[in-house]
């Protein structure tokens, strides 16, 4: 008998069908990877197992855990099963813990809520569990609150609370997506160890094929609420029998075509000895205010049409550097020149040469404005030269056409577009005043692989055709590798390594770069093992 056996699972939320008959099975001590793009129904499958679906959901089929159908259980029985037999870890470690309760309390809660122990013993047991997930009490007292821990440490606490009672099944829904590569590697290591030690089954949900390839014994590929392919991970990934699996595989390894005849030469952006300090509130009463150097004497140059990558872990200072270049932060020392002219945030003439595209295609637009208003937002930088009437119309059409949208899309509102289309609109907004440099701050990180491939193609094509330079900030090294000419590696506010992308990736010099590359999940490496 399998540990988990799902057959013909159908789910609708209100009138909208989400899952159309899912079948999958998992044996104890094995790892099952579920991969798919957003909207494929992978998270909903997990929530169906937990029976934590929205009130308007209707479910049919069977979900057997050790032979007993979870869909037939009462809510009371499910409360006993959740946490005891099935644990779950979610994507966002920053918000998955109650900010007002200590970490010890939250892990102990799993233990005492199932009546295994009284609260005092549960706290002592929580201590052992936190130790087990790599948070020794000496460094991480159990009286700490979540905000005093980093993202990776919080995810360990969440994992501890999920495995405290050694459940038979652990479901992890994109548990490392919000983490840095090095942190991700450590969390994956931890999950592997826990599966081996406890002999539990693990369902690992992700959009990242490389992560699955290195972790899962078996894999299920989902699309539009259906399982399109399933089997042993290595066989599925080697054979690539199903066209959709192949498409995912190709999209995640996609390298956009570039025109090698770069014009180059003249610098678009020159940053020289930039320093950005933050004031830190005094630790003691009337104590001296401290300072934190987020950007430490950084110099860099970007030439016309050149794509430069900026990589580093969170907290390395890459976003602060980007904000300083956009004149959103005041630097304490150093200079920034755009096309040879010193940058001044109040001077529209230099500022208009710089545009930015952010990560979140949902949060970066005013939902009450039409696309034409949204896209023409940078026109305020042109002051009285801003185009009006027919010329404005022509510029909107051109910007939308450039990013592969139709001129008629200008009349629509942002909610009518998908995530990928929104990111195209964000790029159109950046393009419309013909900037010299676009800063892309994790601009493709929130997109599915196939959409990401399209956007990368678009960016490469625009850069070649319009001779636009990019500063491409990302924690995803495979994306940086595919689109940039040169790469800068940032750590603790300093650029520790820089050079042509291919060279740095093939032969990293700095130990930090080597660590980053080693921690990055790689499909080829996983399949070669």
């Amino acid at each position: 008998m399998s540990l988990l056996e799902i057959s013909d699972l159908k789910l609708a939320i209100g009138p909208v069908p989400i899952l159309h008959g899912i079948d999958l099975r998992l044996e104890p001590g094995r790892v099952l990877g579920i991969i798919g793009e957003s909207g494929s129904g992978k998270s909903m499958t997990a929530l169906s197992i937990m029976r934590l679906l929205p009130a308007s959901a209707t479910v049919s089929g069977t979900i057997r855990l050790d032979g007993a159908d979870l869909l037939q259980k009462s809510e009371r029985d499910m409360c006993a099963i959740r946490g005891r037999d099935v644990g779950m870890v979610f994507q966002e470690p920053m918000t998955a813990l109650d900010p007002l309760k200590t970490i010890g309390d939250q892990v102990a809660e799993t233990i005492w809520v199932h009546g295994k122990m009284n609260r005092r013993d549960a706290l002592a047991e929580a201590d052992r569990v936190l130790e087990r997930v790599g948070l020794p009490a000496a460094q991480f007292p159990r009286t700490r609150f979540p905000h005093e821990l980093s993202g990776g440490q919080r995810q360990r606490v969440v994992i501890a609370s999920a495995i405290a009672l050694r459940p038979k099944l652990l479901i992890a829904d994109e548990p490392t997506t919000a983490l840095d590569v090095t942190t991700q590697a450590r969390i994956l290591e931890l999950l592997k160890r826990l599966v081996a030690e406890d002999g539990m089954g693990l369902i690992f949900i992700t959009h990242d094929l490389a992560v699955v390839a290195g972790l899962a014994d078996d894999v299920v590929v989902m699309r539009h609420g259906e399982v399109v392919e399933s089997g042993a991970t290595r066989e599925v990934f080697r054979a690539l029998a199903h066209p959709y699996t192949r498409q995912l595989f190709e999209a995640s390894a996609h390298v956009p075509p570039r025109d090698p005849s770069l014009p180059g030469g003249e610098p678009v952006l020159t940053v020289d000895g930039l320093v950005r300090d933050y004031r830190v509130p005094p630790q003691r009463l009337f104590g001296p205010a401290g300072a934190f150097r987020a950007v430490d004497n950084v110099s860099l140059t970007i030439e016309r049409g050149e794509n430069v990558g900026l990589v580093g872990e969170s907290g390395s200072g890459k976003s602060t550097l980007a904000r300083a270049i956009m004149a959103l932060e005041t630097a304490q020392a150093g200079s920034i020149r755009i096309d040879g002219v010193p940058l001044d945030g109040r001077d529209l003439k230099t500022r208009r040469k710089l545009q930015v595209v952010f990560q979140d295609p949902y949060g970066s637009f005013d939902p009450r404005q039409r696309v034409d208003t949204l896209v023409t937002e940078p026109f305020h930088l042109l002051g009285t030269d801003a185009p009006r009437g027919a010329e404005r119309r022509r510029r909107i059409d051109a910007a939308l056409t450039n990013v592969g949208l139709a001129p008629s899309d200008a009349e629509k509102y942002i909610h009518e577009f998908s995530g990928g289309q929104r990111q195209r609109i964000a790029i159109a907004r950046a393009l419309i005043i013909e900037p010299s440099l676009i800063i892309l701050d994790e601009a493709v990180s929130a997109l599915d692989v196939s959409i990401r491939a399209q956007i990368l193609d678009l960016l490469a094509e625009l850069s070649d055709r319009l001779a636009i330079s990019y500063l491409f900030i990302s924690h995803d090294l495979s994306v940086v590798r595919s689109i940039t000419d040169r790469v800068l590696v940032m750590k603790s506010g300093k650029i520790v390594e820089s050079g042509p992308t291919a060279e740095v990736f093939a032969n990293p010099q700095h130990p930090y770069t080597r660590d980053l590359l080693a921690a990055t999940p790689s499909l080829e490496r996983a399949l070669a093992e």
Partner: protein, 314 residues
């Protein structure tokens, strides 16, 4: 935390100073001469001048401000022009009615609003929720003086449970004093409880959408246990802000209800002070109310620290 506390305390003192200057200046520019008002329109110019001198009205503004400020620090608010008694005495007397009334109505507000708001949020979109929302909509919309008159009609005129108005004083016994405050407290609490219940409900609904609620459910907590263990405390932070504002309002804003029930409270004192140009009373009572508002806000800040550990380390 000590830095945070000291910062709050500092802003408390500065707010009070700024408020005292503003209050003083505003009353400088309002028309009407208290001495003229006290002596009537036919007063002789030399009597008027003598009274002005006696009241200190002939002094320059700055020195009058300083005298007032230092007087307040010693608990000396001056002598009322119309009552001819020390303002401190007047205010303390009136506070003996207004403060218990505010505390009573705020307690009622919380006692009604918390359960109602929590119930409505826990049973979102159910009949209970609609009922709570309907009643609170009514509570916000109904003018409280009308509701007060209704209360008097039902509970005083028909049922004779309470007196229709007036305040016998605390020396007649605690219950007798309290009894005369019950109807006014209910009348004051109805709109406040309605507002607070709605705030509680929406804060709780927001909290229930949070990821950590889902995490708690995944640990095996029932819906109810999740609500009590995680949601309510997190929802308290916005609710506390409103409670602080409401207390300040109840202390100072009961003027209409005090009039309906003939209660000798601060609201009526300030109203009489204004109509009789008893500026020293107005000035002092307004200052006292400002002090109360600022103090309550300070206490709310302290309660944030109690609720939210993220503020403790600062």
């Amino acid at each position: 935390m000590s830095t945070y506390l000291l910062g709050r305390l500092g802003s408390l003192v500065i707010s009070l100073l700024v408020a005292s200057i503003v209050i003083f200046l505003i009353l400088e520019v309002v028309p009407g001469d208290p001495a003229q008002f006290m002596l009537g329109m036919n007063a002789q110019p030399d009597t008027l001048a003598a009274l002005r001198e006696q009241l200190g009205l002939d002094q320059p503004a700055f020195s009058r401000y300083v005298t007032w400020l230092f007087g307040m620090l010693h608990g000396d608010l001056g002598i009322s022009y119309t009552y001819k008694t020390p303002v401190t005495e007047l205010v303390l007397q009136r506070l003996g009615v207004s403060l218990p009334l505010a505390v009573l109505s705020l307690s009622l507000t919380i006692l009604i609003a918390f359960p109602a708001g929590i119930l409505a949020a826990a049973k979102r979109n159910s009949r209970t929720d609609f009922a709570v929302m309907g009643v609170t909509q009514f509570g916000v919309a109904v003018p409280n003086f009308w509701f007060a008159i209704l209360l008097v009609w039902v509970f005083a005129v028909i049922l004779h449970w309470f007196s229709a108005g007036g305040f016998p004083g605390w020396d007649k016994g605690l219950w007798i004093g309290l009894r005369s405050l019950i109807l006014p407290a209910i009348a004051l609490a109805l709109p406040q409880a309605s507002i607070l219940a709605r705030v509680m409900r929406s804060a709780l609904l927001d909290t229930l959408e949070e990821d950590y609620i889902r995490s708690a459910r995944a640990r095996g907590l029932s819906q109810r246990a999740t609500l009590w263990r995680h949601a309510v405390r997190n929802a308290l932070i916005p609710v506390l802000t409103i409670v602080g504002l409401q207390f300040a309002f109840l202390l100072a804003g009961a003027i209409i209800i005090e009039n309906v029930f003939f209660l000798p409270g601060l609201g009526r004192l300030i109203f009489q002070g204004i109509t009789q140009r008893d500026l020293i009373v107005v000035k002092s009572v307004v200052m006292l109310l400002v002090f109360a508002v600022i103090l309550v806000n300070f206490l709310v800040d302290l309660s944030y620290i109690a609720v939210d550990p993220r503020l403790r380390r600062r």
